[in-house]
Assembly symmetry: C2
Homo-oligomer: 113 residues x 2
């Protein structure tokens, strides 16, 4: 019975897009895979819900950051693979910078006198 770690829901907000873009900047993935991969890397701290991830993917695509294509795996399963557009790559970098900036700002408030 391994302890389920509760991740504050509020803190999660706004980070999903960053994580999606960064994961896809390493390799193309399909939605379900993104959920599993984020979970694996964070040692189950993240358990993206489908109701969160899929709409986020659709939105990012509509904004021109992602493109998608259906591929059929060897076992016959159909998967919708997402990849970054050029615009998406820029956005991934931009979000990474915003992220660092954000963390620094929070830590400054938390630690400074």
């Amino acid at each position: 019975m391994h302890e389920t770690v509760e991740l504050d829901k509020e803190l999660l907000k706004g980070s999903i897009n960053l994580l999606i873009l960064r994961l896809l900047s390493q390799r193309d993935m399909y939605g379900y895979e993104i959920i599993q991969e984020a979970s694996r890397r964070s040692e189950n701290a993240f358990q993206f819900k489908e109701g969160t991830l899929y709409p986020a993917l659709h939105q990012l695509q509509k904004q021109g950051y992602l493109r998608s294509q259906w591929l059929t795996a060897g076992n016959g399963r159909k998967r919708k693979y997402y990849s970054l557009t050029a615009k998406g790559r820029k956005q991934a970098e931009q979000r990474q910078k915003s992220w660092t900036f954000f963390i620094d700002a929070i830590n400054a408030v938390l630690t400074r006198e």
Copy 2:
């Protein structure tokens, strides 16, 4: 003409309560002061809006984490000072831990293979 740094609005979510609790764990403050102090420490990265802060304070008080009292400054200005309750102090610690945990999880996803 100092550059105004844009802080991604999305990333801000969920962090306000943490910042409020942590600032108040160092000393009692009134609302307007919290805004200024967060701005000062973060070198203007944070500019809490009043429409964000005051409802957040009210909510934290309703949840029993804060108590408030009106005080009149030497110049005659009335200010509503907030201070942490015992429950609020625990909550501040808890949120700090959640924050660290959250950052670690994000960074794990961002950097891990």
